[in-house]
Amino acid sequence: MKKQVPLLREFTKGLWEINPTFKQILGMCPTLAVTVSAINGIAMALATTFVLVFSSLMISLVRKLIPNQVRIASYIVIIATFVTIVDLVMKAQFVELSKALGPFIPLIVVNCIILGRAEAFASKNGPLRSVLDALGNGAGFFISLFVLGSIREIIGSRTILGYQVLPNGFEPWLIMILPAGAFLALGLLMGFANLYIERKKNLVRESLIAQYKRVGREEITDEVLKEAGV
């Protein structure tokens, strides 16, 4: 029997531990393409989260009714339905945003985060947990896109959410709002994140070694580290 994870944990794990962008490295296409400004990142993340939450809920509700052979096809139809709804609503109500995000709203269908969560989580868990998991992943995606969008907007156009934050004397680095800038910014962010994690791991490892020497335990494996919460 699977160990039951606390409900809150299903949400919080998506924020960092299995962050879609930085840990699962999923959904790279919208991450790189739309984050030329913070507002675009926010809109994209919200649209994705909407689709993610509702499709996870639906899939988790019907998971026992769908024959195994056609589960992926069924998931895709469900996801595509919600994506089309988002697309239509945005075109009707938020014309400017829908223009800025262009083809990337319909492309949420192929965003691996959604199918990934559907297959890995929603198809195996109840509705409540699935929604919490979807919300957590959506929030994680939101954080990544907002951070990336902010960095690119600040350096590439001197503004954040449309407000100027850097002085006129600062010559904006146009590369940051070009595709190359997306790769550079994301790569460096990931690099620094991994560096931080590595450093933290080493610190915990060292303190554990010291601790275990006193207690007397065989060796520090990855499992031991995981238990210690690294």
Binding site: P67, I78, V89, L174
Partner: protein, 188 residues
């Protein structure tokens, strides 16, 4: 056999539900989307003809072109939508023309994907305003470095020659096409 019918039934039901809910949303959204599109076209048409109050689409022209009328319902000219290749992608323009097609009233860039900060200077006043009341006969000419000396000359943007050239080429080509249609219409 039972398995197959189950699969077919599941997919059919999902398809019906998905299609049904989408048609509901579309019923609500479609008129709004159409309204948005119309408002956008209208805005663009009157941007190049600020004194315009009413417009009529010229049908069967093979071009997206509108005749614009002012308050007194007399024609002030044409608004022509025309596009062509820029430096990196398509440039779509709204070109305002006088009734005799001899001058542009002004131009408006509807869509473009030029290099930010360089090609996008075609959106800015120093370049764009050169098209206000510009002579188009025999055609618009792009000059580099020097100030325009003739009424049909436009000065190029430093460092963005290709984008500047593209806009002029699109305007010239659009006007030629429109004139051809006018002539044909007159002869018929």
């Amino acid at each position: 056999m039972k398995q197959i019918s189950l699969i077919v039934a599941t997919l059919t039901i999902i398809g019906i539900i998905a299609g049904g809910s989408l048609s509901l949303v579309n019923n609500w959204a479609a008129p709004k989307i159409a309204l948005n599109l119309k408002a956008e076209t209208e805005r663009a048409i009157f941007l190049v003809h600020p004194d315009g109050k009413r417009y009529e689409e010229i049908k069967n022209a093979g071009l997206e072109v509108y005749k614009v009328f002012n308050e007194k319902d007399s024609s002030v000219g044409y608004s022509l939508v025309y596009d062509g290749n820029g430096f990196q992608g398509n440039i779509k323009l709204m070109i305002g023309l006088t009734n005799d097609l001899n001058r542009t009233t002004s131009i408006e860039i509807l869509e473009q994907s030029e290099t930010p900060g360089l090609g996008t200077k075609i959106l800015e006043a120093p370049y764009k305003d050169q098209f206000n009341g510009l002579e188009v006969n025999p055609s618009i000419i792009l000059v580099k470095g020097a100030e325009p000396s003739n009424p049909n000359e436009v000065q190029s943007i430093t460092g963005a020659t290709i984008s500047s050239k593209a806009v002029v080429a699109i305007v010239n080509e659009g006007i030629t096409k429109l004139k051809d249609i006018e002539n044909k219409g007159a002869s018929e």
